[in-house]
Amino acid sequence: MTSENQAFRLAGRGVVDRSKTFSFTFDGIPYEGFAGDTLASALLANGVHLVGRSFKYHRPRGILTSGSEDPSALVELRTGARREPNTKATVTELYDGLEATSQNRFPSLRFDFLAVNSLLSPVFSAGFYYKTFMWPASFWEKLYEPMIRRAAGLGRAAMEEDPDSYDKANAFCDVLVVGSGAAGLMAAISAARSGARVILADESFAFGGRLLAENRTIDGINSAAWVKAAIGELSSLSNVRLLPRTTIFGAYDGGTYGAVERVADHLVKPAPGQPRQRLWRIVAKRTIVAQGATERPIVFGNNDRPGVMLASAARSYINRYGVAPGRTAVVFSSNDDGAATINDLANAGISVAALVDARPALPDAITARAEALGARIFAGGVVSDAIGGSRVKGACIIDASGATHTLSCDLIIVSGGFNPNMQMTTHLGGRPQWRDDLAAFVPGAMPKGMTAAGAANGSFSLASCLAEGARAGSAAAADVGFDAKPIAIPASDEESNGISAFWHVDRAKHKAFVDLQNDVTAADVALAQREGFSAVEHLKRYTTLGMATDQGRTSSVNGLAILAQLTGKTIPATGITTARPPYSPVSLGALAGEHRGKHFKPTRLTPSHNWAKEQGAVFVEAGLWLRALYFPKPFETDAQTTVIREVNGVRNGVGVCDVSTLGKVEVHGPDAGKFLDRLYINMMSTLAVGRARYGAMLREDGIMMDDGTAARFAEDRYFVTTTTVNAIKVVQHMELCKQWHWPDLDVQIVPSTDQWAQYAVAGPRARDLIARIVDKPFDVSNAAFPYMAVAELTALGGIKARLYRLSFSGELAYEIAVPARHGELLMRTLMEKGQDLGVIPYGTEALGVMRIEKGHVGGPELNGTTTAADVGLGKMASKKKDYIGRVLAERPGLTNPDRPRLAGFRPVDRAARLRSGAHFVGRNTEPVAANALGHMTSVAYSPSLGHWVGLGFLSGAETRMGEIIRAYDPVRGEDTLVEVVSPTFYDSEGARLRV
C-alpha cells in the first residue's frame, strides 16, 4: 500500500527512515509518509502540491520552499484546543496521526468562493483601501469593515485554552553556534575541541542543514554521512549542548539570545509532564551566525502556481526526503547553483524539458550536461508565465531572440540567487551591506561578540563554508580565552557559483507575484512607486510586501530590486527594510511559559493563611498578597452582614486582624533619627525610646508617597512600617536616600516584611486579651503601656515579640508581632485565649470600614497626586527641618487653597447608599465638568452610625462644612445629595484610643 500511496517517493534516496511509516491526513484524506519527513515532503511524496489559498485573491498555492521561509504552504495543524493556524508544512515534522487542514478557503481548497477576488483584482490594487470605502461615511463600520474583517486572516486560532504547558530555561555558553550546516558544524567542532562550552542550535529536527539536501562529497564520503560523524563527535563532548528543533529567534543586549525549542511538536501531544515548547534565554560570550542563505524566486507570470518550486527546495525533496516533486521540469535560473539542479533532477529520474537561464552564456559543463539530458537550452531566455491553475501544466518561455515557446511540464524550478540569512546580525541595529558580485546583502558591522560564517556571510561554496566555519569557531573560542588550535579543513568536491542578477520578467502576461502570501505583484510595486511610496518602508507599508508570516524572506530583496529598477537607483541606494525579531514566528505560549492562569504572578501568603482558610475566610488580592477580606459565618448570606458583625465585634468586644502584609523596615545606626527626619515630613529624632509616632513621607516632587508608623526601640534602632502596596517602593527610596543622597549618614536599612507576622488586636477588651498573650511580668496597663507605647518582650512563653499600642480602628488596640514562623501559633492562641472575651477574627473589609469611620486616609486617598495638606496632614509637616519633597511641595500649584481637600460626606437621606468615584457638584448646578468640585474616594456603611459615610476630595472643603451637594455618578446612574462633614465620623476626640 505504501508504495502506491507514496507514488512520488524515490527508491534509495534520502535520509528518511523507511522502516517507520506514519499515517496522516490532509483535509480529511489519509496519506502515508516516513519518519524524517516534513508534512510538505510527505504531501509531495503523495503527489499533493495544492495546499493553500493566498491572502487576498485566494489563489491556489503550493510548496515553494523546503524551509522556514515558505510563504505559501501554510496549514492548520491539529484540531480543537491544539489547533495551530498558519503552520508551515515545510518545517512541520511528520508524526503518526498528524492532522492538517487547508485554510483561508470556503467551502473547499479546490473550489474557493473568494477566488472571485482574483477577478476583481483590477480594482483591488495596492493601496486600494485608502482610496475608497468612504462613501457614505457611515458605511465603514456597518458594512465595509465587517466585510473586510470576514475575509481577513489566514488560519483560525483555537477556541479553547491551550492545553499544553510551556517551560523556560536559561543557558550560558562560551560560543553559541546558530545553524548546523557545513559552516555551523565546523564552527562548533573547532570551538568545542578547545574546551569551550558550545551550544549548537538548529531549527530543524535533523542537524546538517543543506548538507542533507545536497548530493555532495566531503572527505570522500557523502555529505549526509559526514554530518552523522560530525554530530557523533559533538554529542560525545560534555562541553557541548546540542539543541535540535530550536530556533534562535532574537538577539538582545549583552549577548542574550532568545530561542524556542519545539520539545514535543513532533508528537500527537506532549508526554505527561513534558512541555510542548521551551523558551531558552541563552547568554553567549561569542555567537556565530551560520544560518545559511535563502534562495530567492524570480518574479514571472503566474509564478505562484503549485508546481513552481525553488531549486534548493527541489534538491531538498530529492536528496533529503527521497521525493520527486514532479515528473517533468523546466528549470529557470540566473546562476550556476540553480542551473546545476538539472543533475539532481536527472538523478531522480525527473525529465528536464528545458533549462532556461537569464544569462546569455552558461558554463560549458552545465550546457553539456543539459544537452546530454536532452533538455532544451534557452540561454538568455526567461520563463514569462507558468501555465496551469491549481497545478503547473506548462511553461511559457521567451528565448533570447524574443520568440515564444510553450513547453509542457508539471514543475518549474526557479533560482534567482541567494540572500544570506543575516537577520540576527541586524537585530541590534546593524545595517547589511550590498555585494554586487553576489547580487545580495551580506552582514555589515555586527554587534560585539557576533560573527557570521558560511552562506550567512555570503560565502556560498561548500569549501568556503567549511573553512570559514572552522576559522570562526576557533577564533571565537580563542577570543574568550581558550587555546583553540586550527583544525583540519575537510576536502570537498568542486562547484561553480556564477550569478548574474536577475529579478523580474517584465514581459509576463499574467500576474507576477513578489510576495506570494500577501499577494503583492510587480504591478503593485510599480503603482506604489508611481504614487510616491518609493522609500522601501513606504513600499512595504503601502503594499504589505514582506509583512507576511515569512517576514519577506523570499520577497523583500526582489521587491526592492524591482523598485530600484523603476527609480533608476542602485539597490543599496534604495535601501533595505529592517529585520525584527523573531527570526521566524514563535508561539505566544512559549514566550509566556508557566506564567499563566493562577501562576501568572507569584502568590504571597501570610504566616497564618492556612488558619484563615480553615475559618472559611474570603480572600482578596492585595498586590501579590492574598489577604482575608472577611470571615463569613455559615448563616450569613451576604458580605455586608458579615462585615457589620465584624465591625460591631471589634467596637464592642475584641477582634484580631492579620496585618502581616504591612511593609516593615528596620532602620539602625547612630544617624537613624537624623535619617528619618529627612525622610518624613514630621520629626522622628525627637521620638522617645519606647514610643511610636505616625508619619508621612513625600516624594521629591512634594506629593504624598506613603504613611506609616515609626517606633523607636533604642537610641539607634527604629522600626518603621509602610503600607502594603508601597513596601518595596519605600525600601528602594530609603536605600537611594542612604546610598546616594546622604552616603555619610551612619545608618543601615533592613527590610523585614517577611520576617514578622503581625496582628492588630482591637476593641475595648483588647487589653484583657493581650495580657493573656504576653509573658509575665510585662505590664500592659494603660499607665505602664499607654497609647503609642512600644516594647520588645516575649509572648506565648518565651517567643520573641514586639508590642505596639497603635490603633487604626479607633479602639483601644495593639499590634503584636512575632517571628513569621510563630504567626499561625499566635493567631490560634489569640483565638483560643480570647474565646471567653468573644474574640473574633476580622478582615480587611471591616478594617477599611473602621478606618473610613475614623477618617484615616488609605490607598484611594494616597493616589499619587495628593499633597499632605490635601489629605489633612498639612499640620504635621515640620517647619524646622528639611525633608524629601519639602521644597517642591511649596510650588503654587500645590499650595493653591482651591485644591480639593479631604472631607467627610454623609447622605442627606440616611438610607441612601454612597459610591466611590462619584463626582461632587453644587446642589443646584448642572453636573458638567465645568462645575466639578471633586470626587468621592472611599465609602462604607457605618454600623456604628447606621448609615453610609464617605471620604473624598472637595474644593473649598473647609468653607463648605454643612453644605448639601450632589454626589453625581452617571456611569452607575446615581445622583445622591450629601452633606459635607468632618472626615472623622467616629470618636473624633480619640477618647476610645487612650483608655
Binding site: 538582545y252 543586549d253 549583552g254 549577548g255 542574550t256 534565554r281 547568554v283 541590534l428 541595529g429 560585539k448 521629591e700 516632587d701 518595596i728 525600601v731 528602594q732 536605600e735 537611594l736 542612604k738 546610598q739 546616594w740 543622597h741 552616603p743 555619610d744 527590610p751 528639611d882 519639602r886 521644597v887 517642591l888 511649596e890 510650588r891
Partner: protein, 98 residues
C-alpha cells in the same frame, strides 16, 4: 542587557530597576535658589543620545544603587560603580574643598 553588579557579578536585566540620570545630585535645600534648583533637578533632563550615567537599583539582588555608564543609542554598558562609592567621593570632595 546584563549589568555587572560590583557585589553580585553579572546579572540579567530583569533583576534591576531604573531610576534615571546620575549626573545630577540633590541640590542644597537651604540655598537661596532652592526652588529653581529643585525644579531643574527634578524635572529637566539632558536626555542624551550617547553615553550617560544612570542610577540603577539591584532590586532582586543586593539592593545596591549603581551608577551605570551606558550608551542610550546602543545599550552598551561601559562601567558600573556602587552609587554609594560615587556619592561618598562627591561628599568627601565637597567637604574637602570646604
Amino acid at each position: 542587557m546584563r549589568i555587572s553588579c560590583p557585589h553580585c557579578g553579572e546579572r540579567a536585566l530583569d533583576e534591576f530597576s531604573y531610576l534615571g540620570d546620575a549626573s545630577v545630585t540633590r541640590p542644597d535645600p537651604a540655598a537661596a535658589d532652592a526652588a529653581d534648583a529643585f525644579y531643574t533637578y527634578a524635572y529637566e533632563r539632558r536626555n542624551i543620545a550617547g553615553p550617560t550615567q544612570e542610577l540603577w537599583y539591584h532590586q532582586a539582588g543586593c539592593h545596591a544603587w549603581l551608577v551605570v555608564t551606558r550608551d542610550t543609542r546602543t545599550h552598551e554598558i561601559s562601567d558600573v560603580k556602587a552609587a554609594q562609592d560615587v556619592a561618598l567621593e562627591r561628599v568627601n570632595s565637597t567637604t574637602g574643598a570646604a
